[in-house]
């Protein structure tokens, strides 16, 4: 099974991908759910615009958001300068930059899922909770959020998966630096550029799949649990 014998570089890529995807999911969880909730429940001026902006990364070829991130977070960029001056950190060319790149690409998936889930939560229950004296904030955390959980999980799965597969924005924003930003897709890309790189590429593809399956399995278990909590499991009644 020498095809499964991993080189240290490949192990590093695997580990990096897992780390990036994990933090990407974590990073967009809260803003994603909040945006989803706002879009599902609120009416305000500029809602259509916000909705559109959220979808941007999905609509554009990944290189474009990657390039925009470079403009923003680069050493000359507005946010990049601010981060550098305030915290002394620079995320360009670091794994944190890879997290940001895939987070931007995955955000629309998270927001859309959360929005769908929230919009299907029974308003009547939220109102009932409020009539029991619960502040809307508490209602959100104690009623809306738990009931929207299956959808939020879906969003997280999509985000995690997208992050695992993200290539264009990442390489454009943070480059392809071994051990720092060379995630599995970048490593796979590298192999595909070399004649005869098919076999090692295939090995990395399998590795990606393994990681994705693990995440999927975990999320399915969580989802079943969430559905069972609200009593809409596989029961016949």
């Amino acid at each position: 099974m020498s095809i499964l014998q991993l080189t240290p570089e490949e192990i590093a890529a695997l580990w990096l991908s897992a780390k990036v995807a994990f933090f990407c999911t974590l990073l967009i969880l809260i803003p994603g759910v909040l945006l989803g909730w706002v879009l599902a429940r609120k009416r305000f001026f500029g809602k259509a615009l916000l909705d559109s902006v959220v979808h941007l990364p999905l609509v554009l070829p990944p290189v474009v958001p990657g390039f925009l991130l470079l403009l923003l977070f680069g050493s000359q960029g507005f946010l990049g300068k601010w981060l550098q001056e305030t915290f002394g950190i620079s995320i360009a060319f670091t794994w944190m930059g890879a997290v940001v790149a895939s987070a931007i690409m995955a955000l629309p998936l998270m927001v859309r899922s959360a929005r769908l889930a929230v919009s299907q939560v029974d308003r009547g229950l939220e109102l009932a909770a409020q009539s029991l004296g619960a502040h809307p904030l508490r209602v959100f955390f104690s009623i809306t959020l738990p009931l929207a959980l299956p959808g939020i999980l879906t969003g997280m799965v999509l985000a995690f998966s997208r992050s695992l597969g993200e290539f264009g924005a990442t390489i454009t924003f943070v480059g392809n630096i071994e051990g720092e930003t060379r995630t599995l897709p970048l490593a796979i890309y590298t192999y595909t550029q070399i004649p005869g790189g098919d076999i090692p590429a295939l090995r990395l593809v399998l590795l990606s799949l393994l990681l994705a399956f693990a995440a999927l399995y975990f999320s399915n278990v969580m989802e079943q649990r969430a559905l069972r909590r609200i009593g809409s499991g596989d029961d016949r009644a």
């Binding site: 029974d122 009547g124 229950l125 109102l127 009932a128 909770a129 409020q130 009539s131 029991l132 004296g133 619960a134 502040h135 809307p136 508490r138 209602v139 104690s142 009623i143 738990p146 009931l147 909590r229 609200i230 009593g231 809409s232």
Partner: protein
């Protein structure tokens, strides 16, 4: 005191309510689709009227003109919904605690244990709502609303799917809520006698409009309202004053005008005015006082109007201060030679009188 003044149009349905409720407990009646749920929803803040003003105990909850609209969670109005609305992801005990455990201790009016025992929820505490039967769900909803200790409780057919035994058990508790804790309530139910156990004050709606408000007896004078009441066998609703109690024998004596009336043992204090009712079919007529009979009440009066409603013969018996309605069989009329103006005695069994507005 609740000042309600609102107008609302939803598709075909238009409602316009302007009434001030000054009772601790008010029953709300009306046929299906009359706007009862809408009224409660407006008060609780679930439904936003097109225009209107709502004032609860001096505090303005809503005033569309002045742009006031107190958010739901600040209204502190508890509601038991027709469709229970339990939180599906929380266990029964978490549902019960929802409005409770965040409540400042001094505002709590019940303990969790009290409610659990009363509503027989002990065995259900760890269940999820989808595991409950319809009646169980409604009991939890009731408990949840009570535990949030609201300053106004809105009940929308809370007992429609409860069995009689549970109803009988819960009603006294509702009476305690009313008497001891002094939570004002609006109670929607199609079962008039259920409501009358809590109050004799009621608001009657039809097609979005208030067609009657006040004491049941007075409201019943309205022909529209009467039609509804008649079909419920509530022809005689009387206010009486308690004169004495005879616990050993299981009865009380009450004053109806200048006459004394034997009624089932009442928990009210001597001097209290309570409401009693009986169906016309429970009132018999005799030309002379009858002895050697278990019917205690034999009230002398004069026959008034006689009329046929469907297959029923209804005759008025005019007492000195009240008028009773008796239902007699058509056959009795020739048999007893009944005719208006005739002196008769109205016979009513003690046990046929229902007491309302007091603990059982």
């Amino acid at each position: 005191m609740i000042e309600l003044d609102y107008a609302l149009r939803r598709g075909e349905f238009a409602t316009r309510v302007n009434v001030t409720l000054d009772d601790r407990v008010t029953g709300v009646f009306g046929p299906s689709g009359a706007g009862k749920t809408t009224l409660l929803g407006t008060l609780a803040g679930l439904v936003k009227p097109d225009a209107g003003r709502l004032v609860l105990d001096g505090e303005c909850l809503l005033d569309t003109e002045r742009g006031i609209d107190l958010p739901l969670h600040k209204r502190r109005i508890g509601m038991v919904f027709q469709d229970s609305r339990l939180f599906p992801h929380l266990t029964v005990s978490r549902n019960l605690e929802y409005g409770y455990h965040r409540l400042p201790r001094e505002q709590r009016r019940f303990s969790l244990a009290q409610i659990v025992e009363l509503l027989e929820l002990g065995a259900l505490l760890r269940q999820k709502p989808h595991q409950l039967s319809g009646g169980q769900r409604q009991r939890v909803a009731l408990g949840r609303a009570l535990l949030s200790s609201p300053r106004l409780l809105l009940l929308d057919e809370p007992m429609a799917s409860l069995d009689v035994r549970l109803k009988m058990q819960i009603l006294p508790f509702m009476q305690r809520v009313r008497d001891e804790i002094d939570i004002p309530m609006l109670y929607v139910s199609h079962a008039i006698d259920e409501v009358l156990q809590l109050t004799s004050r009621m608001l009657v709606l039809e097609q979005g409009h208030v067609i009657g408000y006040g004491d049941f007896v007075n409201v019943m004078r309205d022909t529209q309202v009467l039609a509804l009441a008649r079909s419920l066998g509530m022809e005689n609703v009387l206010q009486v004053e308690l004169l004495s109690h005879h616990p050993a024998e299981g009865y009380s004596v009450a004053r109806l005008g200048v006459q004394s009336l034997f009624i089932p043992l009442s928990a009210g204090a001597v001097g209290d005015r309570i409401t009693i009712s009986t169906a016309a079919s429970n009132v018999a007529l005799a030309s002379e006082p009858v002895s050697g009979i278990s019917i205690q009440n034999q009230l002398p009066g004069t026959l008034g109007q006689m009329r046929q409603v469907d297959h029923r013969m209804l005759v008025d018996v005019v007492l000195d201060t009240h008028t009773l309605v008796a239902e007699v069989s058509a056959k009795a009329i020739p048999d007893l030679a009944l005719s208006p103006g005739m002196k008769v005695h109205a016979l009513i069994k003690t046990q046929a009188l229902h007491l309302y507005g007091q603990a059982l």
